[in-house]
Symmetry: C3
Subunit: 262 residues, 3 copies
């Protein structure tokens, strides 16, 4: 039985320092999402210091959205440093099926044993080895079509896999739930998935990964529902979403969460 409000309260009490190696598009909104929720984000990516920083932070997130060779090198070293320091880390395999370079680095990152992978259905399918028609960061598959692949990935790699979309699916290979919080406007705003990955990092920094991941996704989706009632387009939606992440209480989250066993 997952209590999302308690996960939120614990995250806020810990206010964890989370290191994020993310893409250029997401950096600002991701940091604002994390600060609004109550975490302390730090964007540190240089090979010269990122591995050292991984032991200072409580968790690490890695997102390949706009990476290049120097970033990939630093990501692999930093993921290894996080594991060596006993820190959880979260992988966001943006558009991992789009190019051969992404498939190659994606597989190398997966071998560094993330605690959680969060992606859309196309990304989870690509990560599980399905050949995909090249596409950008937007999913062309339904969540349901990636559930079996997510469960296999989770079992094979001993991690939590979250497939996000209209209805989200989270599994650790033995347990699985679906989360139906969220709002139709969310795919029309860039980097919200990336920002959610940062929040997952904050929640799993000091809490068991499966429940913490489910709680994060429900919290983010519920904030989206509130934003949908207070906006008139994608930009005012983003403003209202971040304000709602700031204002939402654990009690409101418990009342609004829609989590069901899968």
């Amino acid at each position: 039985m997952i209590d999302p409000g308690q996960h939120l309260a614990q995250m806020r009490a810990a206010a964890p320092l989370v290191q994020n190696m993310t893409n250029y598009v997401a950096m600002n909104v991701m940091a604002n999402v994390m600060l609004a929720a109550g975490a302390s984000p730090a964007m540190v990516h240089a090979e010269e210091e990122a591995p050292e920083f991984a032991a200072i932070a409580s968790a690490l997130t890695i997102n390949i959205g706009t990476f290049s060779a120097p970033w990939a090198r630093a990501m692999l070293k930093t993921a290894a440093a996080a594991r060596a320091a006993g820190r959880p880390w979260v992988l966001d395999p943006v558009a991992v099926g789009a190019t051969s370079y992404r498939r190659e680095i994606g597989a190398q990152l997966l071998a560094q044993r993330p605690s959680v992978v969060r992606g859309n259905a196309s990304e989870i399918l690509a990560l599980s080895g399905r050949a995909v028609a090249g596409k950008g960061a937007d999913s062309v598959d339904e969540v349901a079509s990636a559930e079996a692949a997510a469960s296999r990935l989770a079992l094979n790699h001993g991690m939590v896999v979250a497939v996000t979309g209209a209805v989200d699916f989270v599994t650790d290979g033995t347990r699985a739930v679906r989360i139906s919080n969220g709002h139709d406007m969310m795919p029309r705003i860039t980097a919200l998935g990336c920002s959610l990955t940062g929040l997952v990092g904050a929640f799993v920094a000091s809490q068991p990964a499966f429940g913490a991941t489910v709680a994060t996704i429900s919290y983010f989706g519920l904030a989206g529902e509130i934003a949908g009632r207070n906006s008139s387009g994608p930009a005012s939606f983003q403003v209202a979403l971040i304000d709602a992440l700031y204002s939402l209480t654990p009690e409101e989250l418990d009342r609004g969460a829609r989590i069901t066993p899968a």
Copy 2:
């Protein structure tokens, strides 16, 4: 006779995947502008994958705002790959006259035969070879002073040139129009010109470049007019602009467009 509403409707129906190699300042707002309008932006710049991606995307845009040597190398290769794959590409020569490095790379990019160049008057004048006093990204020249240079550039390179400012000027060397949509607040918000370049990429992805470019600029300017009536400063203007890009219908665009032969 240009029908901007029909161009908008066609762009939305196609929802084209557009690859953008742009500057760090613009990445987030440009992606949000494109998503709000109905396109699917992908920011992919690394030399290892950007040329491969150019054949996956329907169009490419290149913006030199914050480039450096690795980016310049990748931009030149990716522009060549886009041409080889028959994809249109759009050049945004940010502050091209400011430094010798920008002038050099700007000329090399021009030699890769963009389908469209969009810049402010100072940039178009610099690209046409005029020696300019160094300045930043803000224009110090009026659009009218760059119209002759724009027409020559367009003829010599077989492309569409758009000079944007208080009244915009678009030409393919034989035809030319002026567009008087827009709002005084727009220069007070960073990266709106860059974002407009991304939108041009989305419109020309599947439509003839001259009409599509004119339609894009009119659409963006009309959204600015709506934003001007719903904001109290540059930040609320940006929110209202993106919301308006999302909400504007083809019929409203046809009614509000102010396009006249030049």
Copy 3:
């Protein structure tokens, strides 16, 4: 006697071109803050052109938030070029105490004699040589605890040091003031300190550094107070802050400034 309104009026009349080598998180909001205030920001960082650009711009700001080796090289060269051209430059030593790499490059930048250093208390203490427990970009120290270190730094290096926090402290080693403008929400929004550093660059571009720095901080804090009355969370606060920076008049600043001798 500092007259902040006059500093603001002079900055707006000059509309200075300011070169910023800043972090990826801050780039967009910093540019928007500077444009809203009336300055002309230019983000130029590549080693190939940044030193050349330093003589074109009226001031330079350097922020190490997300730097890496190529950026550090270019920053050191560009700071030297700014000094050689007689341009003031402002250092923002983000998280300078967090890793050995930051401490090393921070010391090298300090040796390039900035006109102003602006940081939070933890950063100023780290820059003055105090060994610190590693942390991210958020301060873990109170401003008061860094005042003595700030005064020593200012005297030893012949520069202005600004420690920002709940109550800000600015000194040139002989004079010192405290500024109590500002709002509790400001630390919950990313890159506002970085944006303030950009504004300091705009104010000191053509005005004596001590008074101009004090005026900038008071202006920014007062805009925050206005934003606090017109927002319902951190994202709407940021929108209202930038709108207020645009709207605030010199007279309103003189009425609202809370500057006291230290």
